[in-house]
């Protein structure tokens, strides 16, 4: 398997071609716009949550295979999760795509592990991180815009 095939795992390619939860969600309780002006990645993340839990989540926009599949799998994973857990998952994900992490943490990421290869492509870390940063922003104090540049 070549280096690029390691990055572009079958699951990533599948989510890129058929992104899940790929739509505007209106109404929503939280949202954010994440963009990466340098390469043109540009996504909106929509969340509906009650005090503790993410009830629904979707995303829409355009970008590379890494950013789009990252959005698709993020929405799949987070639906129904307690907000606290979602934020922990985000932390672990961001850690995994930029450095080596412990086997336990990796395990907690479930199928998101397919993004492990990203850490060997420093220029692409921000692609994988984009929707997660938008999530962080949406759930954080300010709901607004975010950028990974």
């Amino acid at each position: 398997m070549s280096r690029s095939q390691q990055l572009y795992e079958a699951m990533i390619l599948d989510h890129n071609k058929k992104p899940r939860n790929f739509s505007v969600m209106d109404p929503h309780t939280h949202s954010s716009h994440g963009k990466n002006p340098l390469c043109g990645d540009d996504f909106y993340v929509y969340i509906s949550c009650n005090d503790t839990e993410i009830e629904a989540i979707s995303f829409i926009g355009q970008g590379c295979a890494i950013s789009k599949s990252s959005g698709s799998m993020m929405t799949e994973m987070l639906k129904g999760l307690p907000i606290q857990e979602a934020l922990e998952l985000k932390e672990s994900f961001l850690e995994m795509v930029s450095t080596d992490i412990s086997p336990e943490k990796k395990k907690s990421l479930g199928k998101l592990k397919v993004f492990e290869g990203v850490k060997d492509f420093p220029a692409r870390v921000k692609c994988a991180a984009l929707v997660w940063r938008a999530l962080e922003d949406a759930l954080g104090a300010k709901s607004g815009e975010t950028s990974t540049e």
Binding site: S2, R3, S4, Q5, L7, Y8, L13, P37, L38, C39, G40, D41, D42, Q62, G63, C64, A65, I66, K68, F121, A123, R124, C127
Partner: protein, 404 residues
Amino acid sequence: MLNPNIRKQFPVLKHIENGHELVYLDNTATTHKPLRVIERMTKFYTHQNATVHRGVYGLSQSATDYCEEARKKVQTFIKAKHEEEIIFVKGTTEAINLVAESFGRFHLKKGQEILITEMEHHANIVPWQQLCIKHGCTLQVAPIKDNGELNLEAWKAGINKNTGLVAFTHVSNALGTTNPVQEMCDFAKAAGVAVLIDGAQAMSHIEVDVQALNCDFYAFSAHKMHGPTGIGVLYGKHELLKIMPPYQTGGDMIDVVTFEKTTFAVPPARFEPGTPAIAEIIGLGETIDFLTEIGLNNIFHHEHTLLNYANIKLKEIKGLRIIGEAKEKNAIVSFVLDDIHPHDAGTILDTEGIAVRVGHHCAQPLMKRLEVPATIRASFSMYNTLEEVDKLVAGIKKIQGIML
């Protein structure tokens, strides 16, 4: 084609990227430097280092001479009338900022228009926008045609009695389009309008004759013409430079300083405050010698052979669309692939050792106009080969194999 031995002047081409010998096709972003340019700078730093302008001692006198020789080489290279018309700056970006501030502030009036084109690099858009905000001018944008050529008629129609300055690129970095700069200068000067040409992508690829063009300003960067980083040139007509106020101020550009008042030196000193980029200026001079020895015509021919071959080969690939097919082009090919984002393409090419540029190429408005978020861009230089074009084509097929 040029003698392939020329590659020996560029050891970086032997760099191994991901197990493959580097195929460097990002010459539009920056070019590699021949050994003799690197060696010239090393020699200066190792054996000749001193500051310029002020020393009575021999070492400083020589450093001054080397820099002034470099100025003369630039003058000859772009066929300027006077060496005082050559101003050393950081690069194209600074050159355009200098003109926007110094010429713009004092010679453009409120209500006047600045005409640019839809294909400009951010460096030839944002400084004018800032100027317009500060001084109440309006930015006008001439459209391009779908094939990436300037809509020349629309551009001409964009010039009116309110036009204070036109600024356009000689060669588009994103599309490769070579503009009809002579015709544009003739038209603008006949209308009495000041002209700035962004020459970042022209230098070392095509001959430039600023006197024939009759442009008022011409800007370029050494690092894009096989010269060092940190140095570039603003050519300005002497009659303008001599009435323009200084841009940055400090030492070496003054005549008399008192706490009450400062009088400024004549050009070029007026526009070169502080200690200049001495080693880089000397390196630029050596670069020009190198280019002159090879001959711009030979470079042009070599690069266009590559361009023509790439055009043929790339068009054979299904699902590939070339963005920008102007009749007159430099050796730059921008393209997109159906259902594949340029960023993914760039990453996969990198794993094959092929360095291309993907993104908006600092030309976001142009990308918007062309309705693509980004493109993949391969750009060729004197050291590239037909085999490297073949490798690019194979790389693209590999991308499609993985992604589709």
